[in-house]
Symmetry: C2
Subunit: 405 residues, 2 copies
């Protein structure tokens, strides 16, 4: 364990635990725990990969796979389309299993190895699962995945390629989560579940460190984050709070949590200022189709503290954002992964975002991971006869229809 890790604080009741006491959730109130480091002991970051931030991670180990160090782009074409000047997109599709979740899995597998655990587990709608499977394969750990029946075919095949033990269950993600926790305890597997294992937040916060560093420690005004369980948004907050504590940045960003219109329990709770009620997910954006957000308490707290808010977008808006992002930047995100861009478009249209603000959109996962949904949404491409005349006609037709781009 990293000696700078002082302990774990409960996000609900404030109870404190030493790292070697190592609970997952707070035994008193079942709150999600958060790490606390000795921020005065943090020295200059050195190295070229994710592990350059190891002073603020639970273990000093590192993975075989290259995780993180993803590009942050400012695309003139995208910004022009949106009518904004200073939007940056953080392309998390460039992680080893093509989603931001690799950051959490990386930190977890390193820790599991250090603790002598040979098997890891999680429940997941897909991205956390493939990520844990890939990272544990590369570290020689066994991996049990609890997946709901809605898991996409590409994600399932990825799990098989990584030789994960897949339990595809006729249940929702929420039920898989509970089942996974019970079996993890029974078998003493190391449990990566989001909003359960406190160190996943530490892994994910590295995306904030990278954004800040790529912007030369200038803090953006707003960061748009797709929200399912609510862990990523809290991790981004934790990252910026820690950077400020160690004096690398001055100020904090507003966080805009983005949910699907068809599944927005946190937006509802935030807007009505009341407890979070379970929602019935009705969205194609699988990675944020979470009816019972496990990190809801912390996410609401952090978005509030950031002076931010929640917005929601329709599946159609996410699909439009997929095309907008793809056609201007060459990044192909999954629906949930580009919810951030959809929300920025909506906020601009509603006059809620100023063209001069420095804004970051997290692109959390790749479109190839949810290709079945994309196949449903994109129009079918006709098969053409191998006849020059007919091909010529077709080219002329599409050139006329799509003039301008």
């Amino acid at each position: 364990m990293n000696e700078r890790l002082i302990g774990l604080t409960c996000s609900k009741c404030g109870n404190f635990y030493r790292p070697d006491e190592g609970p997952y959730l707070c035994p008193e109130c079942c709150g999600v725990l958060e790490t606390l480091y000795d921020y005065e002991k943090i020295e200059k970051f050195e190295g070229k990969d994710l592990w350059r931030y190891r002073q603020l991670l639970p273990s000093s180990g590192r993975t075989n796979l290259l995780v993180g160090v993803t590009p942050l782009y400012r695309s003139d074409a995208l910004n022009e389309e949106l009518g904004i000047n200073d939007l940056w997109v953080k392309d998390e599709t460039r992680n080893p299993t093509y989603s931001l979740k690799d950051r959490a899995s990386a930190v977890v597998v390193v820790l599991a190895r250090e603790l002598g655990c040979k098997t890891v587990t999680c429940a997941s709608t897909g991205n956390a699962a493939t990520s844990l499977a890939g990272l544990s394969a590369s570290e020689g750990l066994k991996c049990h995945i609890f997946a709901p029946k809605t898991i996409s075919a590409p994600k399932l095949v990825q799990l098989q390629a990584f030789n994960a033990r897949v339990l595809k269950i006729d249940a929702s993600y929420d039920d898989c989560y509970d089942l996974c926790n019970r079996f993890a305890e029974k078998y003493n597997w190391y449990n990566r579940n989001t909003a359960y294992n406190p160190y996943t937040l530490d892994g994910k916060k590295t995306v904030a460190f990278e954004i800040a560093e790529q912007l030369e420690w200038e803090v953006p005004n707003k960061i748009f984050v797709p929200v399912g369980d609510g862990c990523i948004v809290s991790s981004v907050w934790k990252g910026f709070v820690e950077l400020q504590k160690i004096g690398l940045t001055d100020g904090l960003p507003e966080l805009i949590g983005v949910q699907a219109d068809g599944c927005k329990p946190l937006k509802e709770s935030f807007d009505k200022n009341k407890g979070c009620e379970r929602a019935e997910p009705k969205t194609l954006a699988g990675s944020i189709a979470v009816g019972k957000p496990r990190n809801g308490f912390m996410a609401l707290r952090d978005v509030r503290n950031s002076k931010g808010k929640f917005v929601s977008v329709t599946d159609k808006e996410m699909f439009e954002a997929t095309k907008l992002l793809g056609s201007t930047t060459g990044i192909f995100g999954e629906l949930a992964g580009v919810a951030s861009v959809a929300a920025i478009k909506k906020e601009m249209e509603n006059g809620k975002l100023d063209e001069g603000e420095k804004v970051v959109a997290l692109i959390t996962g790749s479109g190839l991971k949810d290709v079945e949904v994309a196949l449903k949404l994109f129009e079918k491409i006709d098969l053409l006869e191998a006849d020059e005349g007919k091909i010529y006609e077709h080219i002329e037709e599409i050139s006329t229809n799509r003039r301008g781009r």
Copy 2:
């Protein structure tokens, strides 16, 4: 244009052309052209991305998207499984559209932009297409793709996300290639076709530069390269030849071209020492299902010059390699993309490879890009009832069946 680019030499007849004469193929003999640089004028490489090699690329421009700089891994687990000590895998699935082809497309779009072309085109079984579509989207160029009817659904959807103008034609890749060349000439589109545009070789050779640099300029004994048209294998050769010319390395690697058993025109030609005959592709490995290899002449010459050879592997062997690579390294390659690993396994089993040799396997494309094939090959995962007793039984069963890993 880069002033160090002296001109283009025909790989068949040796004719020489100045860069500003700019033919695609040799007007005399239709041979594929190769760039020639003033190797005495090359100074130390500087910078962190692919463009650090710009002194040996046709243009000094750069792309918006981050291309190349992919990891080179030595996995103890993989090496142990194969009984080899010093195997490295170059993970090209980490490129922006998840294949090595991005290197060629990057160089081509930069050049097209510099030459004032607004539209680019290519024919492709999929990877070159998605790559050109993504890169041209990010550079604001229009893109026409000639795709055979066999193109995979994920690759097609990727093209649509990048807003490419897709011509899906009821024809083979070979016929699409010819059609594409005719329409490119008719419309004066910039033509990226492999073994047609000489600069694609320059883009792809950067993978050799990176491998050498990552191995601290030590030249591997052997490099295993999946072969369809034969461009990548020639690019790797060109890269190592150039590094030797500029004095950064000493010696050259043996190149092992890997083809599918069901489509091995170059292996046949090489072994029988006769001209390359057209084959009828019978393989699921779409990216190397090329019956008429457009860069065959050069590929045969280069593999011969390298003192290497061609080997072929079955679809089953490629599928086994997918699982072997995935379960040991966390890299999910497509069938063609892991043909290199399949061939190394075969060579080790046949005693043709020494455990002490320094070997590199190119992993050319991601498994998510050909997920339909993977879905055919992996066994179907049963849906389990959400019943703790039944899940317990299932866990016990798979734990027994898969003991040891």
